[in-house]
């Protein structure tokens, strides 16, 4: 089994006619993702990579009632509009790739999604991949391989680096969730840990965190309080980052005394999580915990 997406997932691409949208529609189709429709307001009736385009999510859903998931490539200024549309249409999962959405907007739509039982992944994320089954995202599929370890990460390329190291070491992945680099996110580490806990296809979880906020600390508390059964190994990026500076991601900033790597690493270790010093050490740590 996998979490969030599998070979049955039917996808609508919002912003399909844009440069990013059309390019990644092609790479997702090549991976085997079942993309059944695209949406760009005003471009209804056109075809992108063989996929029919509609003016609205509602219309796409009328023609393709099997759609359950959306991936959003709409530029930041209009992205919220697309997200509300997907939530209102009743989709189960909305993956937001777009970077640069104002946090006041993401606070509102993540809350609205919760009230409507829609899962949001992102914003500012690489998406979700269940290797060999489906890819709803922009990650290079070839670095991932099918297996039984879940990945949850705030980063894109760093996840590819670690997935590549795992794949080379013969450790495949059930699902890899890129939750995004923004300060406010639809899916948190705890949400992802809960999904992997319920999934009988996942034996262990790799958590890839970074400086900023207290999501890693909260995950550590959750692991202790809930007596999380599956082994978790982690890597935290930014341990040498200066305070007060944004390190690339909108959310990667040590501010008001919160968010440095040391406290995250300390709390995760207290929760029994093995924390790697270098990304390349993750496969070794996994082999150790999976043997037990």
């Amino acid at each position: 089994m996998t979490v969030l997406i599998n070979s049955e997932t039917r996808v609508v691409v919002q912003g399909i006619t844009g440069r990013e949208g059309s390019f990644h529609t092609k790479t997702m189709l090549n991976y085997g993702t079942k993309i059944v429709a695209g949406v760009t307001p005003g471009k209804g009736g056109s075809i992108v990579e063989g996929v029919p385009v509609y003016d609205s999510v509602k219309e796409a859903l009328r023609r393709h009632p099997e759609i359950d998931t959306s991936i959003v490539f709409v530029p930041a200024r209009y992205a919220s509009e697309a997200v509300y549309e997907a939530i209102e249409a009743g989709l189960n999962l909305v993956v937001i790739i777009t970077e640069g959405i104002p946090v006041h907007e993401s606070m509102k739509f993540t809350r609205y999604a919760k009230l409507n039982n829609t899962v949001i992944v992102g914003p500012n994320c690489p998406g979700v991949i269940s290797p060999g089954e489906s890819k709803v995202g922009i990650m290079p599929g070839q670095v991932f391989s099918k297996g039984r370890v879940g990945i949850v990460s705030r980063s894109g390329t760093l996840t590819y680096e670690i997935a590549y190291a795992m794949t080379k070491a013969g450790i495949g992945q059930s699902t890899s969730i890129g939750i995004g680099g923004d300060p406010v996110l639809g899916t948190t580490f705890i949400d992802a840990l809960e999904m992997f806990r319920e999934d009988d296809g996942t034996d262990a979880v790799v958590l890839i965190g970074e400086i900023g906020g207290d999501m890693e600390e909260r995950a550590a508390r959750y692991i202790i309080e809930e007596r999380y059964e599956k082994p978790v190994v982690a890597y935290i990026a930014g341990r040498t980052a200066p305070p007060g500076k944004r390190m690339g991601h909108a959310g990667a900033i040590i501010s008001m005394g919160v968010g440095d790597a040391a406290s995250k690493i300390k709390m995760l270790r207290e929760a029994g999580v093995d924390v790697a010093e270098l990304p390349s050490q993750i496969p070794g740590l996994l082999k150790k915990v999976l043997k037990k």
Partner: protein, 377 residues
Amino acid sequence: MKLYEYEARNLFREQGIPVPEFRVVSTAEEALKAAEEIGGRLVVKAQVLVAGRGKAGGVKLAENPEEAYRYAKQMLGSEIKGELVKKVLISKAVDIDRELYLSIIVDRSIGAPVILSSPEGGVDIEELARSKPEKILKIFVDPVVGIREYHAREAARFLDLDEQTLKKAQQIVIDLYKVFEKYSCELAEINPLALTPEGSLVAIDAKIILDDNALYKYPEFSGEYVRDLSYYEAEAKKMNFSYVELDGNIGILCNGAGLTMATMDSVYILGGKPANFLDIGGGARADLVERAVSLLLKHPRTEVLFINILGGITRCDEVARGIVEAIKKTGVAKKMVVRLKGTNEEEGRRILEENGIYVLEEMDEAARKAVQLGGAI
């Protein structure tokens, strides 16, 4: 982006939050004129963005306009914690009975606005959170619903005021929230909110941090976006790269924030010292890579360039072309370690090797090489 105090005060005043009468000036002569207009006891405040300006001599109480003039003259053109003082704020001094605290923040851990209220203002709120957490009340506001009267009432009541002043405090909470919403703030803070002997409430300091992602909605501020950045940070910003100045000699250039941070950390753990952090983002073409590499080639403290690329949407051949072009155009040769992996990796390696740049495949190996070339510190 952090606003200057006078900008934040303007936003407060515009919303009806009481602030002391003030003027902003950039010369000592203007300061004297402003001080005479306001009259009486005055506070002279250096307009800088660094924290802790009070202790660094950036806030002075003047008994009369002449004294205010002297303080303004001292401050203007001086440096406070390394930041040049270009403007000072001349403000009417307020008699204070008690100092209170109010703020609205974006709380990342719950993804919602939170009102913070404390009867013990005037101190650093982080310090207060450590020493007396029970003196801070946090009120969650549902971002879909927004602030309600009962939120404001609860926040105001915690300030420990009499019935009449309570109503005023309640209105200030509502108005502060309106500023927070209207300008997409990450933080809107009044510290301290002064209670005067006459029972008035006055915001005698003002702090606002705007969300960089929302700046396009506020052209009045976005023009000065690069205000708190160094030259290299500002140059990188123009090209849409993330750049942070560090103090070592190894330049770090990668694609993606997480990988850039991990590369920086690896260099440090292996005994080297990064000079900077440069994230070119996803999908950069050769011309953009060229500009990024050129920036580091020209950076005086950067002796070794460590370029670590994991190609997904970024193509290794585009990166390689950009590197070669940058060296040709700048005419600067620095020691360079390049690691390429992923999309079009073979083509990228071929281009670099033809130009005498050797390419490594593994990140750790490349980091070790970069540290070795930089000389362990």
